[in-house]
Amino acid sequence: MWDPIATCSEDRSGSAITNLGHNITEDFCLRLSSGNGAVSVSSALEQKDSSSVLVVALGLCTALISLLLMASLSTTSLSFKAPSIQSTTTRIYQVTLKRVLRKASSFQSISFGRFQSSKRLRLQISCAAKPETVQKVSDIVKEQLALSADTALTAESKFSALGADSLDTVEIVMALEEKFDISVEETDAQNITTIQEAADLIEDLVQKKPAA
């Protein structure tokens, strides 16, 4: 159903969350978050006719190009996915960008493959972790750190700022593994510093699990 139509690989350094809000014809959130070895760009959009598909596609290209021109984003992979949909008209959009970033950790090339436009096109680009996941993580953190129920926790709350030491963090990881039935790699566990990062990693791991 979904074909990856653009992939790109590069070295990873650091993590960045870049918010590109773009209103083309509909509201969609284009959010890039890197870290944990992957970047996902998310949006969901329904279009009713093919001309607006073109607009959306160009908008996305523009967004992507402007993103790449911004400094300091390093990711390991960026993928766009689009469904292969039966259609009478076919348009091919190909954009190739080489070395758009001056920094060493830049994208080598990005190419958009074939789009098949149709009356209904859904471009699925995933956003950051669902609010329910963030909430579940917050609950586990509150319990582990014995925080009062009304402690204000945001997705950006850092474990260390909440008073977690390394043993707390380890117990939190274990609690998350149990709750979501996942297995967290050592290196991934070390890189979790905020609730958002934990939630993002969890969703990534849950998604990668083989279907039961």
Binding site: S166, L167, V170, E171, M174, Q190
Partner: protein
């Protein structure tokens, strides 16, 4: 702040660690407990390092505020000795650790040091053996499994935690460089101290009970591969700018 009240300190000798600890309850503060302890830990480091440097500086008082610190490649804080090359500052190494009720700083000359302190009564939310199976080495799991009494097992888990943490902090390369399940710290029967298995030779460990036996404190320093000399530890309780107390009733485990 009265700089003149910062009494200079004799440097640690070779294979010697100086352990300084503070009880935050002895220091008044309006701030939330956890933030306060992080701040106090930095105060402890600065004042202590300044006092060692003062001694080396012909007793010209070194202002703790003037000290420069940097982080190594992996984020471990260290004294930035490159700043002033005219004076002959010793290569002081330090490491800090704190709980809600105790803040500690270990200092050595030249050798990398790592310390970890933990409340002796700390309870884990998970079963100790499950935690060990997930995070410790198989040898350590075996050791913990062999302890029948739950309370004794919990204590041994904590002791191992502090020792393993002290090693990783002494190494200074972050936890991913030495995941806990890739090495074992064991105490052979009738041995004087804990030993490291599964990694490079030479690392020395000391495990102490501190502050009315309320805390475990583990110290790890990097010795030479064939280093015969044992690590000695000198312990002080301190309130910066106020008082020092040489502690003799700490217990070596």
């Amino acid at each position: 702040m009265m700089l003149s009240s910062l009494v200079p300190l004799q440097l640690p000798s070779r294979m010697q660690t100086h352990l300084w600890y503070m009880l935050p309850n002895e220091v008044k503060s309006d701030d939330a407990l956890k933030k306060k302890n992080a701040l106090l830990a930095r105060t402890l480091v600065r004042t202590t390092v300044a006092r060692y440097q003062t001694n080396n500086n012909n007793d010209t008082v070194v202002d703790p505020r003037s000290l420069k610190f940097k982080k190594n490649l992996y984020g471990k804080p260290e004294v930035d000795g490159e700043v002033d090359t005219t004076t002959n500052y010793p290569k002081l190494k330090f490491n800090i650790s704190h709980t809600d009720s105790l803040i500690a700083c270990g200092v050595t000359v030249n050798v990398p040091v790592g310390i970890d302190v933990e409340d002796k009564t700390r309870k884990m939310r998970h079963d100790v053996l499950s935690l060990a199976k997930r995070f410790y080495s198989s040898r350590e799991v075996e050791f913990l499994s062999s302890i029948a009494d739950m309370e004794a097992r919990r204590k041994e888990f904590i002791k191992l935690w502090t020792l393993k943490e002290a090693y990783v902090k002494a190494l200074g390369k972050g936890f991913s460089a030495s995941p806990f399940n890739t090495f074992s710290i064991i105490r052979p029967v009738a041995a004087e101290s804990y030993n490291l298995c599964g990694q490079a030779e030479g690392w020395k460990f000391r495990l102490l009970e501190l502050a009315a036996s309320s805390h475990y404190a583990a110290i790890c320093i990097e010795g030479e591969d064939d280093e015969e000399e044992a690590m000695t530890v000198i312990v002080h309780r301190t309130i910066p700018f106020v008082e020092d107390e040489l502690i003799s009733d700490w217990k070596l485990l």
